[in-house]
Amino acid sequence: MSDRNAAFKLVHSDDQNAILTLSGTWLQGARVQEFSALSREIQAGNLSHLTIDGSALEEWDSTLMAFMLQCYNHCCEEGITFDTRALPASAQKLLTLATAVAPLKPSESPQEHWLTKLSPRRLANHSGDIIRQSLGFTGEVTIALGRLVTGKSNTRFEDFRHFCYQAGPSALGIISLTSVLVGMILAYLGAVQLQQFGAEVYVANLVTIGVLREMGVLMTAVVMAGRTGAAYAAQLGTMQTNEEIDAITTLGISPIEFLVVPRILALVVAMPLLTLYADMLGIVGGGIVAGGMGISPLQYLSQTEQAVAIHHLAVGLIKSVIFAVLIAVAGCRAGINAGRSSAAVGQAATEAVVTAVVYLIVADAGLNILFQAIKF
């Protein structure tokens, strides 16, 4: 076996000429000596001409060719002429193919350390870019909406209907689940505290106000950001990859009017309705827990009736419209600005959800301060 192993030997025939003899089986898994050893030998010899002798070669595959290519490139750099006439014909041909195009010299851009990607300045710049893009995008959407109002828009009603269905009825299942649970969580949280004062019955007020003003709409928005916002980003990102957005643009249609406006409008219509639904189920969820704590359904209902006030409901609905716009803008912006590869589509969907959730929390905090200030 040992004599069949892949091997090479450099023999100097005179000062400037040398013969590199290749022998044995050069197949996958063969243990070939490192090329660096040979390159040192070649350099030490001050050669001008290197002849390859392949007559002792047995079987060979890409292992040999990869080695030959290294030899060739090394000899080129050192200005040594490289004579392959004694190689098997097919190996010569492959080497000719492999060396037909001079390799691209890699540009000298040093590899970045991954930590530099996390530098605060870089992150600030990135967030700044996203905010600037979002503002520009919102501007474009506003112009498109203006054209819609004046009847000059290319928005198709069918698209709008289709997206309404996607954002509305198909989301009912997941919204039901989350909002019942949120109602129950609120009730537990409140009941334990209120029990200390013997005021368990006020759980109904806590759940009602909590769900109507805050939790119903916020949970719906988070679910929709993950569900619909990400879907918008993925759809538009894939359309960007498939050159569909280019096709729409060159047909003279604004992609904003054609793709973004129906999506935003659909979410703006669906979100308040979903929020109403979530509010109702949240109160029901609270009622289940209250029932378990000895509050009769009738008591719970009458307390709830007292607590429900139109302005609490209005706060939730106003928020839902604003959140809908934020989710849709975050999703569509990420999708429209996506790169043209499958990785970029994934990135766009991630970005859509992350920015939407950040917008939601910031906007919610801001709105609460505002409502507090105007005592609404």
């Binding site: 898994g29 595959d61 060719m65 097919s90 041909k93 492999a98």
Partner: protein, 267 residues
């Protein structure tokens, strides 16, 4: 039971391809010899790519069988299919390069999975394969950073990473300029000659069909079956089917004694 021709590398026997009830092609029977450059040709929508997808095992035949070196692929167990697949290299219509990986990582992936090379050797082999397709030094580029022609060549580099016995191409030169397309043809032919691999390709390019292929099958969309099979130059001059002669002469066939072909796709 139909049996494969003993000396053929790939034998297709009475193959029927269907999506559910919708039959695309039926009764396909042909042989591909070792070292052939075999072309699947036919009008748009006749099922060329579908045939290729059947041959590489992405789709299951509705009826019939496909044999590689005498053993059936659809009838083989999952492990046997895996072993057979490792001897193939496949390049898809749009390249199918993984966009999240650099070219080097793309080409290295099959080597890491299936070859007995260590890390340094893999880097050398990748450098060699990329150099073969004229992309030496492009190791660190991502597929999105190179042009369409380069992408096709990069896909070829990944397809030949494991020194396959069979190379499948779906429209290798589609969307390339004539010179790049010619260079790619030359590359495929040179590789075939120096490695002895069998090449199966789907293509419309008449120039490449005549330049490199020595065996071909013509699928007809109208009758939903193959209507001729053989050397393309011979078919161009001597095929009994007017449709095939017309296809191979871009409709310039001057025969008038044969009946006018039906328009494909309209029965």
């Amino acid at each position: 039971m139909p049996s494969p021709a003993p000396e053929a590398h790939i034998s297709v026997r009475h193959l029927t391809m269907a999506y559910g009830d919708f039959v695309i092609q039926r009764e396909l029977t042909f042989d591909i010899a070792r070292g052939d450059i075999f072309v699947i040709m036919g009008g748009s929508g006749c099922g060329k790519s579908t045939l290729l997808r059947h041959m590489v095992g992405l789709l299951k035949p509705a009826a019939g069988d496909i044999y590689f070196s005498g053993s059936s692929f659809p009838g083989a167990s999952a492990e046997e299919q895996e072993t057979m697949r490792r001897r193939w290299g496949i390049s898809y219509q749009t390249g199918g390069m993984f966009s999240a990986m650099t070219l080097a990582e793309n080409v290295a992936l099959p080597l890491q999975l299936y070859a007995k090379y260590d890390k340094a050797e893999i880097a050398d082999i990748v450098a060699y394969k990329l150099a073969l397709v004229g992309l030496g030094g492009f190791q660190a580029y991502y597929p999105s950073e190179i042009s369409g022609g380069m992408l096709k060549r990069a896909a070829l580099a990944r397809a030949i990473a494991l020194d396959p016995e069979i190379l499948f191409f779906d429209e290798p030169s589609a969307g390339l300029d004539p010179i790049s397309s010619r260079l790619l043809d030359d590359l495929i032919m040179e590789l075939q000659q120096s490695t002895g691999a069998t090449v199966v390709m789907v293509t419309h390019e008449l120039a490449s069909i005549f330049a490199i292929s020595n065996n071909a099958v013509y699928l007809d969309a109208g009758s939903r079956t193959m209507i001729d099979y053989g050397n393309p130059v011979y078919l161009r001059d001597h095929s009994k089917q007017a449709l095939v002669r017309q296809f191979l002469t871009r409709g310039d066939s001057t025969d008038t004694d044969s009946e006018q072909p039906k328009r494909p796709g309209h029965e």
